[in-house]
């Protein structure tokens, strides 16, 4: 049964190949008469490849995200006054960190050795980076959390200046709110 099916499949492809053979020869004849002398190619310095364009845009987004995170960490004492602010800021930082990492991965993808679209199509889901990205995001958010809570701010209303008991209470509140968001 399998053999018959295979034979039938071969037949249809043989038929297509015969038609294509003739068609291909005709295309080659047309190509021979194609006048290429009129083609004007852009001078090399003006050719700004799509790869470079992509890298530039991804890099810009990454830098903006990193700058925003840095700005938020530096200016936190002016904005973070209660647990709600803290949760909001942390979520924002998390989103920014995720975007930054995602764009860094895209830059890597552009420079991959076989960064072709068929490769993307048939891309194997075994890349270690697929696992590394979520872990890196979690790590980045923990670092941000650490900076918010532990690093002292001069003359500020930082939680690092508050007593330890209040700090732990604030962290418990954050965990409580986060568990309810889920």
């Amino acid at each position: 049964m399998k053999m018959i099916e295979r034979k039938e499949n071969e037949d249809i492809l043989e038929e297509l190949m015969t038609v294509w053979q003739q068609h291909s020869e005709n295309i080659e004849q047309i190509a021979q008469h194609h006048d290429l002398t009129n083609i004007r190619l852009a001078p090399r310095p003006l050719v700004f490849s799509s790869r470079r364009r992509s890298v530039l845009s991804y890099l810009t987004v990454t830098l903006i995200c990193i700058a925003a995170i840095a700005g938020m960490v530096i200016l936190r004492r002016q904005y973070v006054y209660d647990t709600f602010d803290l949760v909001f800021f942390l979520l924002l930082c998390l989103a920014l960190a995720f975007t930054a990492i995602q764009n860094l991965y895209r830059i890597y993808s552009v420079h991959r050795q076989y960064a072709s679209l068929p490769k993307t199509y048939f891309y194997k889901p075994t890349s270690p980076l697929r696992y590394a990205i979520p872990r890196a995001t979690v790590f980045a958010s923990v670092v941000v959390l650490f900076l918010f809570i532990v690093v002292p701010v001069q003359n500020g209303r930082s939680m690092s200046l508050t007593p330890l008991s209040q700090r732990s209470e604030a962290i418990t509140n954050v965990s409580f709110v986060l568990s309810h968001i889920k």
């Binding site: 071969e10 295309i27 047309i30 004007r40 050719v47 679209l117 068929p118 199509y121 048939f122």
Partner: protein, 164 residues
């Protein structure tokens, strides 16, 4: 001087691989002369952009296929035209459109049009009698994966042919 040499080398390559680009254009468009022309221009521009990175490690035709497939599939996705760098004669595109209007060839394209973009890339290489190993190099997959996909496409084509 270097610019001139580069231009000449590129145009010589283009002359050798022109029919390959036309085949990709016909496969990924609706065979309208204007659309063939737009896709041809897009492919030539991308080839010119990537030309310095071609080190001759793979066959010239394999490289052209790879770049042409990438450009064609991404153009099909975004449905827009990139800025034109080239000035081309319309006769060639009209001839190509006429060539594909033959009833048997129309039937061939009717079947192929119903395949997905990645299946189209494989069937084009298969119809051009490119060996499975070279197809794997072009598409960045293993020879076994190529053979598996060819078998799947054959089944699909058979099904499409019978159910029309």
């Amino acid at each position: 001087m270097k610019q001139n040499t580069e231009h000449i080398a590129f145009l010589e390559m283009l002359r050798r691989c022109d029919s390959t680009i036309f085949k990709v254009c016909l496969m990924f468009t609706d065979r309208d002369p204007e659309n063939i022309k737009n896709m041809y221009q897009d492919i030539v521009c991308t080839l010119w952009e990537s030309w310095p990175s071609f080190k001759g490690q793979s066959k010239e035709n394999t490289w052209v296929y790879r770049v042409a497939f990438n450009t064609a599939v991404s153009q099909v996705r975004r449905r827009s035209i990139s800025p034109m760098f080239t000035q081309l004669d319309d006769d060639t595109y009209n001839n190509l459109a006429e060539e594909s209007q033959n009833s048997i060839i129309e039937r061939l394209y009717e079947l192929i049009d119903r395949l997905s973009p990645d299946e189209k890339t494989i069937i084009l290489l298969y119809l051009d009698r490119v060996p499975a190993r070279e197809m794997g190099t072009t598409l960045g997959i293993s020879e076994a994966a190529v053979n598996h996909r060819i078998e799947r496409i054959k089944n699909k084509l058979k099904y499409l042919n019978e159910n029309d």
